[in-house]
Amino acid sequence: METSFALTGKGYVIVAADTTSARSIVKMKNDEDKIKTVSPHLLMSYSGEPGDTVQFAEYIERNLRLYQIRNLYPLRPSAAASWIRRSLAESLRSRSPYSVNLLVGGYDTSTHEPKLYWIDYLGTVSEVPFAAHGYGSYFVLSLLDRYHDPEAPLEEGLATLKRCIQEVSKRLIVSPEKYKVKVVDKDGVREVEL
């Protein structure tokens, strides 16, 4: 079952998402990247209705890129999250709403702070220290309540993330086998092998 989670730490945000692509009960693919780099210091993980997800993520990606080309600097994480939220909120009351859930994690290069936003398909946005979507969220959020430290260095953050992944594979009936993990900090975005 689709699961994604993210957590902040000292000067960074970690975003993780499973890599399965499923149609009904069939696993079609197990190396799907569901985390997009939407600007130099911004990551967005997406999950939800297949088709809607990629379509919406690419729409966001191209629009944020256009803003950056026009204005020579990218939108800050808070502004990007607000704009993405608005796109979903407008879509919700349209004839064919997108059903996409997002985690937007970024590093604000003007205030030097890591930022994480939980966004659902209704267009709800909330700035949070850690977040999760999908069935994994029921296990992971309570685990992070106990172990999350907003001041932890990257190694500790990744260790906490491993705990989350272990918990999901232990308790969820159909748990994903593989995750893609990306980190965003002052140097930009990079992928991490666990």
Partner: protein, 300 residues
């Protein structure tokens, strides 16, 4: 005759449909409608007509602005200072409404464009009001879309897009207004921009528009220092204004004044447009109000 124009317009509006957010196309649409109403007048609508490729209307507008009330801006390390000269219309003009005004200032030359931006205008007042309105709406639209104050350069750009649109089509005249923008955003912190009727804009450390702008700019060039702070910038602005303005004494009657700084506690921009009484108090502390000796001599 009329039918022929209609078919032309139909073609144009098809193109316009795809670009409905593009301002120049909005202007084009306006122009083609004008054609439909008054086709016999088309020959008299020209923005430019010159073999050298110069746009006379813009040059006329710029010339007119160089006789308008002076507006002067100085960018400091920790803020931006703006001052403007009011042309006194006469004793009978009722200014009582302006004195109690909402956000300070008399609303003639210096305007609050957004919580992070102040604009000083030189040129046709009516055109300026329309541009200020446009700027305020644009800033609020940005806030609505991005939940964040509009970056300074972006708002200057938006106004320039509008201004440029009016230089490209016949039958419409350009805005006869130059604007100084003083603003703050987290990307480039404090900034000062100038835009002219053609839709060009540029960033400055210190600049001046309106009457005597040449004199003021050479004075600023001599006195400006790169690490100037707001406190010194206020003095520099007022001294330069007193030298460039025609009148011998400065007072709130002829001067508008504003400062943009950062609020110490909240780290958010704080735009302060001075009220008349505050301007007089400031001139007093800067030692720029001269005792009117002549008046005393006469009474004795």
């Amino acid at each position: 005759m009329a039918r022929r124009y209609d078919s032309k317009i139909a073609k144009v509006s098809k193109v316009v449909h795809n670009y409905q957010y593009d301002i120049t196309f909005q202007v084009a649409q306006l122009y083609s409608r004008l054609k439909a109403w008054a086709p016999h007048c088309i020959l008299c609508f020209y923005t430019y007509n010159s073999l050298s490729g110069r746009l006379y209307q813009i040059e006329y507008a710029m010339e007119a602005i160089s006789h308008a009330g002076t507006v002067l801006g100085v960018l400091a390390k920790d803020g931006v200072v703006l001052a403007a000269e009011k042309k006194v219309t006469g004793k009978l003009l009722d200014l009582s409404g302006a004195k109690a005004g909402g956000y300070g200032g008399s609303g003639e030359k210096i305007f609050l464009l957004n919580s992070n931006m102040i604009g000083g205008v030189a040129g046709l007042t009516a055109d300026a009001n329309s541009l200020v309105n446009y700027a305020r709406s644009a800033a609020q639209r940005h806030l609505l879309a991005y939940n964040d104050d509009i970056p300074v350069e972006l708002l200057a750009q938006k106004l320039c897009d509008l201004k440029q649109g009016y230089t490209q089509f016949g039958g419409l005249r350009p805005f006869g207004v130059s604007i100084l923008y003083a603003g703050y955003d987290p990307h480039y912190e404090f900034q000062l921009y100038h835009s002219d009727p053609s839709g060009n804009y540029s960033g400055w450390k210190a600049t001046c528009i309106g009457a005597n702008n040449g004199t003021a700019q050479s004075l600023l060039k001599q006195e400006y220092k790169d690490d100037i702070v707001v406190k010194d910038a206020i003095g520099l602005v007022l001294r330069t204004m007193s030298k460039t303005m025609d009148s011998t004494t400065l007072s709130s009657e002829k001067l508008e004044f504003a400062v943009l700084t950062l609020d110490e506690a909240t780290k958010t921009p704080k735009a302060k447009i001075y009220r008349p009484a505050e301007i007089d108090a400031l001139l007093q502390t800067e030692g720029l109000i001269k005792k009117d000796d002549d008046a005393e001599m006469k009474s004795t």
